[in-house]
């Protein structure tokens, strides 16, 4: 890694003020560090200063009541996965968090870090490759090896968003709170992420001097079932080839409402309104669930090596819907 000075955060004002002194990359925040230190070791990022957020009090707590969850951005992925209320009532979130990486990484990685993590794309992570996302001319995945890249929403940068927790939160209708020098603002987790067509250089709407501080998750309806299905090449650690976060409000095996968000197939967690529409108000059968899957991927634009993701995504959606119907 390049040298950097390391500063403990004392308050949100101090943090946003330090971040405001420069643009992207000069001063960066570090929470768990499991993604950021990886980037520093590969010289993808070379900040002069790291601000340690872990010294900010109270930002790692999880609290739950009848109306929902409040999770501090510094809560670890492990804490989220093991929280009883989350395991019992927000199953998709517990499963997503439990599927992240390895125990070592879950113990240290934070919610904020998981949402804000950068792509795993092997062109992006290669210091010598001047890819489009890093300010260059070309997305190398287009003509290159695209087995792990996007089939939806890619143009012009075909990374996939690596987070498991993000699709789960969006499926649960979560929102998050951002703090900047002007104060705080709240938005849905869905709105937090952006597609490359809007901004090829970043994956979310954060300004350089803003940080995520908290996520709020409304309590699912009493008749809601939720799952996180993650297709991988090896058991762990492995990022998703494709994943489905599904929340299904069921009446018997009729789906009254569904929230289906895909991971590993698009540059942002991908809310499939098409799949949701195909299931809403329907009795879920094999063919209904398959149709939902087909609808979800009908506009997919695979690259040279990732057409299999189209089939895989369709099948995962079908599987999730069938699980809801049981």
């Amino acid at each position: 890694m390049e040298k950097f000075s390391y500063v403990n955060a004392t308050s949100l004002e101090q943090v946003t003020s330090l971040l405001s002194d420069s643009g992207w990359g000069e001063v960066m925040v570090i929470a768990g560090g499991t993604d950021l230190l990886g980037e520093l070791k590969e010289y993808i990022e070379t900040p002069k200063t790291l601000i340690n957020l872990k010294t900010l009090p109270g930002m790692d707590s999880i609290s739950a009541d009848g109306s929902g969850l409040k999770i501090g951005a510094l809560a670890t992925v492990a804490d989220i996965a093991m929280y009883p209320e989350i395991q019992n009532h927000y199953t998709v979130l517990a499963q997503a968090a439990g599927s992240v990486a390895t125990p070592q990484i879950r113990n240290v990685g934070t919610l904020g870090g998981n949402l804000c993590q950068r792509p795993r794309c092997w062109y992006y992570r290669d210091e010598t490759v001047d890819c489009l996302k890093k300010g260059g001319e070309l997305c190398y995945a287009i003509e290159g090896l695209s087995k792990y890249h996007a089939i939806l929403g890619g143009d012009p940068v075909y990374i996939v968003h690596p987070s498991d927790i993000a699709p789960a939160l969006i499926a649960l209708g979560a929102s998050l709170k951002i703090v900047g020098p002007e104060g705080e603002k709240t938005m849905s987790v869905e709105e937090f992420f952006t597609l490359p067509a809007t901004n090829p250089y970043r994956e979310n709407v954060l300004e350089p001097n803003e940080i995520v501080v908290e996520v709020q998750v409304p309590h699912p309806k009493s008749n809601a079932k939720s799952f996180y299905l993650k297709a991988r090449e090896k058991g762990a650690p492995d990022f998703a080839l494709a994943s489905v976060a599904g929340v299904f409000e069921m009446e018997g095996n009729t789906c009254q409402a569904a929230s289906i968000v895909l991971g590993g197939v698009a540059p942002a967690p991908w809310r499939s309104t098409e799949a949701e529409a195909a299931l809403t108000g329907k009795m879920i059968t094999e063919s209904v669930s398959m149709q939902a899957g087909e609808d979800a991927v009908k506009d997919a634009q695979p690259l040279n090596d990732n057409a299999y993701k189209v089939t895989l995504t369709r099948n995962l959606i079908s599987r999730a819907a069938m699980m809801a119907a049981k």
Partner: protein
């Protein structure tokens, strides 16, 4: 001149002080500054678990923790496991089950096992695989490691 921070931490129950640059990982500090070479460098970015240590009671990859971040915390490494006169039951179980060959992954596996058994004294086989999924071994094929953990659990019961 490199700017170094002074860090005071507890390692295996003893207060330890060291100087390090902010960019030095805990793994580098343990191995190069403190000469505690039990934790190993296998990949240096969190994929193999050979560097696993326990930090404030939680299993972590020491290659992804900065040395300066251990200020005021407590670190357990493989060197602290055995009593002066006898091995820890986990260490015995690994030996008896032939759960090691070249042995380079072994300290990491033993620390992961300790972290597991400290919180779950009676894990199922599936749980053992799940909680040891962050440790890679190229020699043994894992089967004997899983059995060693099962035996260690029984012995500690």
């Amino acid at each position: 001149m490199a700017i170094k921070s002074h860090v005071q931490t507890t390692i295996n129950g003893e207060t330890v002080e060291f100087l390090c640059e902010s960019r030095q990982s805990l793994l580098e500090v343990l191995r190069d500054e403190l000469h505690l070479t039990g934790a190993k460098e296998g990949c240096n970015n969190g994929n193999c678990g050979a560097c696993s240590v326990i930090l404030d009671g939680r299993l972590v990859n020491s290659c992804l923790v900065l040395g300066v971040e251990t200020e005021g915390k407590s670190v357990e490494t493989i060197e602290g496991l055995a009593a002066p006169d006898k091995l820890h039951p986990i260490q015995d179980a690994f030996l008896e089950n032939a759960a090691l060959q070249c042995g380079i992954c072994t300290p990491g596996f033993i620390m992961s096992t300790k972290a597991l058994l400290d919180s779950n004294p009676n894990p199922t086989e599936h749980e053992i695989r799940y909680w040891l999924a962050g440790n890679l071994c190229r020699c043994t094929g894992y089967d004997k490691i899983v059995r060693a953990v099962q035996d260690a659990a029984k012995a500690s019961a």
